[in-house]
Symmetry: C2
Subunit: 245 residues, 2 copies
């Protein structure tokens, strides 16, 4: 096993950071690593907003359920799916661009995620810690207003980056046999493997250093899936130009 | 710069592969690296279908516009966004699960992309080459039937993995200044930077070893955005349970 894979396997989200800044050259290098990710049809449909303004950080933290790390991480980046840039190019060439297709939503969302994960891998490879912040989607309209996002751009998630001030244990994942199938989707036998995993995850939650709880994965899924999942997203996206045609 | 970042910066899609297989333990390690990626609310909303059956490979290659590498890469994995697994857990606990929310579509699509990118980074770190295959979305219904995907699971993209039989140049990306903004979306000055980038990319396309063409990025975007983008996606996803509520 090489250092890269070792670093990938050690991933854990970091929510407490030291005060040390991330050097500007290093940040540039992390973003360059993101730039190198694959992009569907080479749309490069990503824009990153780096938040250095304290008041904007405070408001984004509030949108994200008061997650303190949004305020205090050395860097906080918002990854946006962006079809505005390519559309402007098309219009600059005197043509009308198609827009609002579900496919374009997928392409730009995937582009943003691949890009971000490269930034994450690069960051963790130099000893930085990260935490994705999906909770900016609690109020994507407010976040978009704050960041002056134009039509055909939406904030997919935020990303905190900084030097870790904690060292939590790696969280156990579902067994590979449940996630990796051969030739077709065959979930036979998964239930008993998930039951075994439930016991492993429960033990992890009971014994971890912070935010201990007694919960299984199945229990967590059951709880989450009884709630409506950000039902405002569809209306927000439609208004933002992602009409899901 | 360390080896991990060096490897990220060297990424290029590989479409011609040697015959050598990927060792089973290595494949397992790559998938483990994928497992380690962050997951929104820990849904772990990803299922991977590894295609070893030649006839299924052939049919998927045909769906993907006859991309030969789908048939001949040592490994071909289909990354599926999966809300079926968590839903089954919820129902197993006697509860009714919410479904069809746009947010759940985002969560599972992002989970699949983060996971896949970790597999990619791990693969490239050991000298393997990769190529994402978004074109399975040319006919996602046929692909889903082939793979027996249940409701609330959809194929996001495929991934070819194998030992490279070509060594193309790295494709120049948009300048960082166009992609990375501070505190808000401000595209002033981007047009002239994109014009400069157009010249760089045109030179790359004219001089690359394979599939030479004379095209700018703006030109490519203009061409792509005049076509409807897989207009069947919405209907397919709705029928598949992703109702975009």
């Amino acid at each position: 096993m090489n250092q890269t894979i070792e670093s990938l396997l050690k991933h854990k989200s970091i929510r407490k950071f030291r005060n040390d800044p991330v050097n500007a050259d290093l940040l540039n290098l992390l973003v360059s690593a993101g730039q190198s990710a694959a992009s569907s049809s080479f749309f490069q449909a990503v824009t990153i907003i780096r938040i250095t303004d304290h008041e904007i950080r405070r408001q984004l933290a509030s949108i994200a359920g008061n997650q303190e790390q949004v305020k205090f991480a050395a860097e906080f980046l918002i990854f946006c799916a962006d079809f505005n840039r390519s559309k402007k190019c098309c219009e600059g060439n005197g043509q009308t661009a198609t827009e609002g297709f579900t496919e374009q939503f997928i392409v730009s969302t995937v582009d943003a995620a691949l890009y971000a994960q490269n930034v994450v891998v690069a960051a963790e490879s130099v000893g930085l810690g990260i935490c994705y912040i999906g909770a900016i989607r609690n109020n994507p309209k407010a976040a978009s207003n704050l960041l002056h996002l134009p039509q055909n751009v939406y904030p997919v998630f935020g990303l905190c980056i900084g030097y870790p001030a904690e060292d939590p244990a790696v969280k156990p994942r579902l067994p590979i046999s449940v996630v990796l199938k051969e030739n077709n989707y065959n979930s036979q036998g998964d239930a008993s493997e998930i039951a075994a995993y439930d016991r492993i995850l429960k033990k992890y939650y009971e014994n971890r250093s912070d935010n201990q709880k007694s919960q299984t994965w199945s229990g967590q899924m059951t709880e989450l899936l009884q709630k409506e999942a950000r039902p405002h997203m569809r209306g927000f996206l439609t208004a933002q130009g992602f009409k899901m045609k």
